[in-house]
Subunit: 360 residues, 4 copies
């Protein structure tokens, strides 16, 4: 008999349910007897010992369901050694819940921040297995995270829709894509939808290059230009600021985000009409795409296998088309970013896409 705790942490994304279903199905099908404790609202549920007992029936029909049946929340890693609102030490509360319930292991579905906490729990002696969840695809140690392809599909669909309007009206359109630190989502959605200019955090832009790219298009007879801009896009000037200085600058913006700043600059320097679209949280929602369903199910199945073998302390990841186990200590605190000279970036440039950093 295995007592499994499970929680989903951080911003939700597609295929969380599919992944949990994978874990549970593979354990049940092994013949193992199970007690499943579903902690509610992420690490908060573990801290507060707030959970629901789950059975196989809870995981039926959720393969295609967006969101998470357990709820989620953010408990910033920085704060986990600070007392919670009731004055209790959070890490101690989590350990207390774990031992009180006699858990064999804890399965955590989360992104970067959640992996830091998961690794910390591991160092505290808990048996932890994690699954790489994020639309940002920025987890170190895995080629892919679930949620990513579903978010690409949605963001692409948004730009596709904008494309027909852009074509009819001849304006500049900016679509702001999620991604504060990494540009995987913006890059892929931008390439998939034929965006003309793609701005990502890893490649600082300068307005001169952007204006030049727009004017080149005009000179070739194109009436419109579409920019896919990551939330975390940054100008080359700003990229030289310290993190603190930049944060201050951001707070002083009169517009809601960098996209609006870029929009204003283009409008002022070209006289063209510029429109900004912000699909926002839509990108995390809805039914997972088939790719993510298969991928999350596979990761879940392999997590079940590790649990059966008692191999803990790993993230189940994906490397060179194989499902692999990656030591949690190697994952925590690292970010997988887009290398500015990655092959895919070169290919995008070959296709005529500007990253706003070209010499003018």
């Amino acid at each position: 008999m295995k007592r499994i705790g499970m929680l989903t942490s951080g911003g939700d994304c597609q295929a969380l349910n599919a992944a949990m279903r994978g874990v549970v199905k593979s354990l049940y099908n092994s013949g193992e007897e199970l007690e499943i404790f579903g902690f509610l609202s992420g690490y908060k549920g573990l801290i507060n010992s707030d959970f629901r007992m789950l059975t196989g029936a809870d995981f039926t029909g959720i393969l295609t369901k967006g969101g998470t049946i357990l709820g989620s929340s953010r408990v910033p890693f920085k704060t986990i050694d600070e007392p919670d609102e009731k004055g209790r030490n959070k890490i101690e509360c989590m350990k207390h819940t774990y031992y009180k319930l006699g858990l064999d292991c804890l399965v955590v579905l989360g992104g970067n921040g959640s992996h830091k906490t998961a690794n910390r729990l591991r160092t505290e002696g808990l048996n932890v297995i994690t699954l790489p969840k994020t639309i940002d695809n920025d987890l170190w140690g895995t080629d892919m995270t679930f949620g990513f392809q579903s978010a690409v599909d949605i963001a692409t669909d948004v730009i596709d829709c904008i494309h027909t309007t852009a074509d009819s009206h001849g304006r500049v359109f900016i679509v702001e894509i999620m991604g504060h630190k990494t540009g995987w989502l913006t890059l892929n959605a931008g390439m998939a939808s034929g965006a003309d200019i793609i701005l990502i955090p890893e490649i600082p832009y300068n307005m001169k290059s952007i204006i030049s790219a727009i004017k080149k298009r005009e000179a070739r007879g194109s009436k419109f230009t579409i920019l896919a801009v990551a939330e975390g896009a940054i100008s080359d000037e700003d990229s030289k600021l310290s993190k603190k200085e930049y944060q201050k600058k951001l707070e002083k913006l009169k517009t809601p985000s960098v996209s609006y700043e870029v929009a204003q600059a283009i409008s002022e320097q070209t006289g063209l009409e510029v429109r900004v679209t912000v699909p926002g949280h839509m990108q995390r929602g809805g039914s997972p795409c088939p790719y993510d369903r298969v991928f999350a199910s596979r990761l879940g199945a392999e997590a079940g296998k590790l649990i059966l073998k008692g191999e803990y302390g790993f993230m189940v990841g994906y490397k060179d088309r194989e499902i692999v186990k990656v030591p949690l200590k190697d994952v925590a605190g690292k970010l997988k970013t887009v290398a500015p000279d990655a092959t895919i970036i070169k290919e995008a440039r070959m296709l005529g896409i500007s990253f706003g950093d070209e010499q003018v």
Copy 2:
């Protein structure tokens, strides 16, 4: 032989191409010989005599294509008696182009503003036929406009996606839906997606009712609330201001739109996290939905019939499930709004939807 001028005016929407294809196919299939002048970028093309000669081949394969093959632009009705940038009287230019090309008639696909101009051209002696294009469904004289159902589909899809995140995180989400003057789109997308609160221009809201509706949901155990808010939503206080005063107030807003104001008020008064999503121009784009394709094709076919009969001065509309012709003079300058006591509003209330105007 018929010489037909055609133009698409105002914000673009889905099924413009389908409608034009309908006109042209029905004329060709009647055996009539045709010369089709496609004016580029709306009335601008007519003013500047900027057009492309079109043949049947140009209308092949465009039934499912978003946008408009002719391009569009806004030429505000207010300004059509003022000289254009070259100092020429716009109305006179339009007449000049019409007569110079020896047109038998002009087919205009447009919304409210475009209908005013179309009617003016009629009074100036031109043969005009119009087709009701707008995602707002606010044209007087027709039960339905093309573009509307496609926009409902997109806006609904956005709220559907937000739903899964809302459910997982337990926050308040606001989705800002297009519609400055009328609430048809917000009302339908809100009902289709199970929004809890719907704010439309025709039913001024007060924050007390909104807060009360959110609290009632909390009291019943619902962790989240979703608001579908029309761009033109207005508080009951503001609705008492003169148009001018309100315009001034809007300009002083620190946030981009009323949705953000509502968000801030909810956040302050409830302490809940509130997120705003703005799908924006996405709502006008992409391939038309099957409903709009059939509808626009039918309208186009009937427009062709009127042209063959030489019956001009009409908008082709839809009444009680029949395609009808509506005199342009009756359409121009009127708006079809949502009556606050319409049956559909009552039904929405019966389903538990709040319009932010309930007595508290």
Copy 3:
């Protein structure tokens, strides 16, 4: 306090859950106390007194869910006076269940057959309210049924996909659309997707016209032809047979359906490659489209209102854009078919669509 029985009968379709949610939400929101008996698998549940007690929670989150939470089955009207497998009279069993549970009324969601049974129960003294459910849109007394527009969307999507292959390969493609007795679905999906030839039960076809339409397209340079064929399409010769004779003929077919017969004839008479696609039950499935969600919710709300007023013996229908109540006795046993000279048929012909009945 109201005791409501509810059941979904016949082939399932989209928006059944949305409609039931509408009924229940409007009753709860009226403040009425409720006991809801959900009969399982259609009339079978009523016959066998097989039900689940339902509460508001059962109807939460099902607005967008395909299928029916109650299950469905077909109990042919012809057989309801015959004993069931246990030798019991079915009608008496249904009445027994109704009275034993002390129901105030029975809400039936169903199509043609189900309405006959519903009307019979009314004549037996039961309080019955029905809702028009069918992808065929063939119920008499209502302009629209829920499920229809969702099925149009799916069937259109199938033909859209086929279109790109047809265009690339230059063949004849037949897509078989659901509809044994009426052609609404085929007609609308065919028009929405730009099908070249549409065959529906109401307009018998002859092969000569079909071949001629294909050859005309070839002569004009079109490499492919797409036919949307209703399951119940019939040749003019066969339409002269008695129902019995035709049934016999159908049973002797070596191919699975009339579509395949048409395919074979085209292939033999033109030498062209012909491919048949049969989306089948796919057309009844998946999440309801936004139109159906709004429509079914409105019907449900109005059904709730009738129940509160104690007005029974009606189908809640839709006429000239208003929700109306239609006496069950007027609905039962009638079919709403496509009139061969309906305006929409004329418009389709104006657009160049062949119905396979043109004089050659």
Copy 4:
């Protein structure tokens, strides 16, 4: 200056246009001057010197367009040394066209058969570059082919729709998925949609296992079972026949395909209602999914690079997340099949999926 010939061969699929756009864009952006000869209808166009001169404008706006702007056809490899209908040797005709037009190279987008011909042309001295096009993902030398993920998306959508009906009616549903020789598509669509039983050519099934799997589901309270069956699924008995014997047996089938045979056997042995859905060519059509658009664009860009360098005789493939060049001689005539003991198969079994081959 480069003279490029291009053709798309075999069954069409999604992202053919995206791939060609990639090749052409990367060549133009390199500053190279170009003459592009687009051969019509696959190798037929090369044989008959039937082509269109293409420019950059022809590749604008086609990233999202299904099908192929060049048309396609099958010219079986077996027959290319036989004379064509005009008595000419096909290979010689192809060479003649190539040399007559003074081509620098020929870009072929095709699947298995097309690669054999491409390799043959290489041995005849032509400069050939190929791109891996097929919804089957069965090309040797590449982890992925474009078209595959788009087809998975469509096939999954079909099964998703069937799922809601299956759930409501409690029957057995069979969805026949494309794939005569390999099961990649069926496997992925089946896993993505939660199919209960998956039959693929690489794992022969026996009816006993299938019946047992269905009965186990019944015993656990599941009312329905969904089978995803590849066109080329084969029973263990039949898999022992010679290819010829099996072909004979297939021709004698009274039903259109193996799926119907399985359906009949299930129906006879369990008494359950079984329904078959055949999405057919739909699976090759429609707009490519975002994954395929990015992937095909990248492959196209790299093909452009090889052309610039004059490196010929390769297929541009994908290995371990890198774009690679694979010698054509290594690709031709080989098939990439699903290994019955592949990790993904084991994972699928861990999730409870039956492949119809389990010991009973």
